[in-house]
Symmetry: C2
Subunit: 214 residues, 2 copies
DNA sequence: CCTTCAATATGATTTAAATCACTTTTCGCG
DNA sequence: CGCGAAAAGTGATTTAAATCATATTGAAGG
């Protein structure tokens, strides 16, 4: 586990892990639903969780993707209000569900924990701001470019990066139709900003793409 | 001043106010620019500041609007990285600019301050998530509806709420062209979800609009 | 190795919003 | 009160993306 739990002292880590339930989720299984009241703080210990909305039926938008060590839905977990979106496992995943009660206690008692949460929130806020930028950008090429760049920079391995998402997921992150995303990615490939090998997207380096999305 | 400074003890409040510069900004004056390195934490003590991006020239998108008592740009202020957007005063405003050094010291030394910042970040995160939702919603009517609802619920006075922004600002918040926003607002008025009196937009109650944006 | 299904790809058509060009209204101020 | 500028409003046209239809490719499993 990375960021959150790494930044917590070993003793505390045991406490955290000891005082909350661990649950596994299968692919496409729902962690919580938009509108539901928050009863726990979800911490990803394995796998990948997407935070999504369904602005119209058939339509899906990905607001965020969270991997191992990341925490999400902090505001609702803090005050018990409703989740603003739905969380779904993208693959077999394991989550620590920290009850609001325990969460509150830890926030009060451990300064280290509080700092770790603050740190996570910084990341969430940055990511969300970048999402707003992506969705408010006019050209589909720039939108997809930004999404790919975000995915590439968030990846753990070095260059070239292989994008681990389907066109449909990229489309949902960019707020575009799948076909549009496909065509747009082709255009980016024509411009040699990405490579497509057997349908998989590869990015050799961030530079050219960064220049392109300005 | 509200939230932040209210939630800080009187003694500390003096400290905060005493240890940072107070600057005034005229309408349309820039507080900081996208890409600039963060040197301070901005706290609005009077007026209204908008956080904007310029995805293409002539085009402007409003990411957030901050009023008295609100803090913004916390992530860059925490780590000194670059601002992801530009901040501009929408009217004559006054800001407390807390140097990063002081900000860090306060975060370390005052638990109360840290909690206040955490609280502000929750608000920011919620707001940003709602922005993503707005921008990723397909129909312009729902987009504008959500923007108006956000503006109405953020307002201090009771119902009916008079929207204090121009069509252009609403368009920039919804990610639409000004003309589209105008036409869309008219449609909402035809559906009696808002009232237009002398060009000013009035919302009598949140209910119908909330149902509409679902 | 072949089958099968999901993912990718591509073309044709529709549609909603952007854009452009212009008029009307509102409101502050001399 | 009437002037002038800014904001709101309107119509015609263009444009980019959504949608619909269908074909091709790729990868997993028997």
């Amino acid at each position: 586990m990375n960021s959150l739990l790494q930044s917590i002292s070993p003793g505390l880590k045991t406490t955290v892990v000891g005082s909350c339930s661990v649950r596994t989720f299968g692919e496409d299984q729902c962690v919580f639903t938009e509108g539901e009241k928050a009863e726990f703080l979800p911490i990803v210990s394995r796998g990948r969780i997407k935070l999504v909305r369904y602005p119209a039926d058939g339509k899906e938008v990905i607001i965020g993707i969270f991997s191992e060590g990341e925490v999400f839905a902090i505001p609702p977990a803090l005050d018990g209000k409703r989740f603003p979106a739905t969380a779904v496992a993208m693959e077999a995943s394991e989550l620590l569900l920290l009850s609001r009660r325990e969460f509150g206690r830890l926030m009060d008692e451990s300064d280290e924990f509080k700092s770790a949460i603050l740190d996570q929130m910084c990341g969430l806020l940055r990511d969300r701001t970048s999402s707003v930028q992506i969705h408010s950008t006019l050209s589909s090429e720039v939108r997809v470019g930004k999404v790919l760049l975000k995915l590439a920079s968030g990846s753990r391995q070095g260059w070239p990066v292989r994008i681990a998402l389907r066109r449909q997921d990229i489309a949902e992150m960019a707020g575009l139709a799948t076909e549009t995303a496909i065509r747009t990615i082709r255009k980016l490939a024509d411009k040699e900003l990405v490579r497509i090998v057997h349908g998989k997207i590869f990015i050799d380096s961030a530079g050219p793409l960064e220049d392109f999305v300005r």
